[in-house]
């Protein structure tokens, strides 16, 4: 009997030291991974930051060049404006990806109207929507404004809509619904068309991963959506059937602007640590 017990103890010891050894190894490999990721992030950040100023200037100037009645110039104008909008969108995504990778993302809450954000996103995607003749319906069941981070929510919605336009069928409909459920804000974007297959799910939200059904943009849009949702304690997922795909994001709704920071503290304020161990 004693021998058996000794064996067990020995086995346990070996497993422990093995796990310790392997964990140290993982830690070491992880350090290398973090270092190489850092170099990538720095590059990304440099590129995005150096592109953002020129494109902002271009975007603010282009509308002044609207030729109005000259048909030939109007075509050129539209192409230039469309491409500038696409470029701006991609740079915004690059910048967001760089910020996320650097861990520099601060969440700043404000009162917002989700419908306004959707309309803003539609405006920035107007050429893509026109080209495919897509109809966008917005169903908002939330009457009041909500508290969330407007910049991040806008980027999430814009990416989901862009995705819907790209994969949606021509002359199709995109349904955007906004609702509140169990203190959470739900925004879903449903487009008609074949959705990504379930087995491709892990790739869909992975940065720079090649899309299994072709390549669109930089491959970072949905990864940004996932990361931003995660950063704000929310979720993102999609469901697809044979004729449509629906991306749904949830974000916890902040109910109190000013006291949100102090909320957790109260749990401990009146807690007695009198008989606690002091170390």
């Amino acid at each position: 009997m004693e021998v058996i017990i000794d064996h067990k103890a020995l086995e346990c010891d070996i497993t422990h030291s093995e796990i310790e050894f392997l964990s140290r190894k993982i830690l070491d490999l992880n350090k290398q991974l973090i270092d190489s990721e850092k170099a990538k992030s720095r590059f990304l950040s440099l590129v995005a930051n150096s592109l953002i100023n020129p494109i902002s200037v271009l975007l603010s100037m282009i509308p002044h060049l609207d030729p109005k009645n000259d048909v030939r110039s109007a075509k050129i104008y539209d192409t230039v404006y469309e491409q500038a909008l696409v470029l701006d969108f991609r740079i915004q995504n690059l910048l967001a990806a760089a910020e996320i990778e650097n861990g520099q993302v601060d969440i700043s809450y404000a009162l917002i109207d989700p419908t306004e954000l959707v309309n803003e996103a539609i405006k920035s995607l107007k050429y893509a929507i026109l080209e495919k003749n897509i109809q966008i319906n917005i169903h908002n069941t939330i009457e009041q404004k909500v508290v969330s981070d407007p910049k991040k929510l806008y980027l999430i919605i814009r990416n989901l809509l862009d995705n819907g336009c790209f994969y949606g069928i021509e002359n199709g409909i995109i349904d955007v619904s906004i609702e509140e459920k169990e203190a959470k804000l739900l925004v879903s974007v449903k487009n008609q068309g074949e959705g990504p297959k379930v087995e491709h799910k892990p790739q869909i939200f992975t940065r720079f991963a090649y899309g299994p059904e072709g390549y669109h943009g930089l491959g970072i849009g949905l990864s940004i959506v996932r990361d931003l949702c995660e950063l704000m304690d929310g979720t993102i997922d999609y469901e697809a059937d044979t004729s449509s795909v629906t991306f749904t994001m949830t974000l916890p709704l902040e109910t109190n602007l000013s006291n949100s920071e102090a909320y957790g503290s109260n749990e401990f304020l009146f807690e007695s640590f009198d008989d606690a161990i002091e170390l």
Partner: protein, 161 residues
């Protein structure tokens, strides 16, 4: 009794504050590293869930190997030097929820990663209460750099602590 305010931190958070404030949290298999700068009367605490970031998704401070260097950096940004810092490590219990956490030895790996990283930065661990099977409530008092700790029943530990 703390004179200043007490900040409660959740999983994946890092908080740095000065005397006479306090920082508190609740731990199960999670680990919290408390760093104290004896010269500046400043301290910081993190609270992480898992030992390693695996390259997928965000480099979130819910992973030990991301959170601990971030905590050290945050202290250094405010003027600390590794040699003026001391560390106290808490948590890493083997909480038997459905046995899965235990077989993966999450608590022990969480402890190991804290010790290895602190060793790398040459920050000495002056106090610790780690492992075991009980959750812990801790309050880091920045006035004296002392940590008050109480064991808690399993039912009081929230999910993911």
């Amino acid at each position: 009794m703390i004179q200043g305010s007490s900040t409660f931190i959740h999983v994946g958070q890092i908080h740095v504050d000065t005397s006479p404030s306090a920082i508190s949290t609740v731990l199960g298999s999670c680990v919290a590293v408390c760093l104290y700068d004896t010269k500046l009367g400043m301290g910081g605490m993190n609270h992480y869930l898992l030992p390693f970031w695996n390259g997928n998704g965000l480099q979130s401070p819910k992973f030990g190997n991301i959170s601990i260097p971030k905590l050290i950096e945050a202290m250094m940004m405010r003027g600390s030097l590794p040699k003026t810092l001391v560390a106290k490590v808490f948590g890493g219990a083997s909480i038997n929820i459905g046995n899965s956490a235990n077989t993966m030895m999450i608590g022990e790996k969480n402890i190991l990663v804290a010790k290895e990283i602190l060793k790398d930065y040459k920050i000495s661990i002056v106090a610790e209460d780690i492992g075991g099977q009980n959750g812990r409530k801790i309050q880091f008092n920045l006035e004296r750099g002392k940590v008050q700790m109480k064991y808690i029943a399993r039912s009081d530990i929230g999910e993911g602590n």
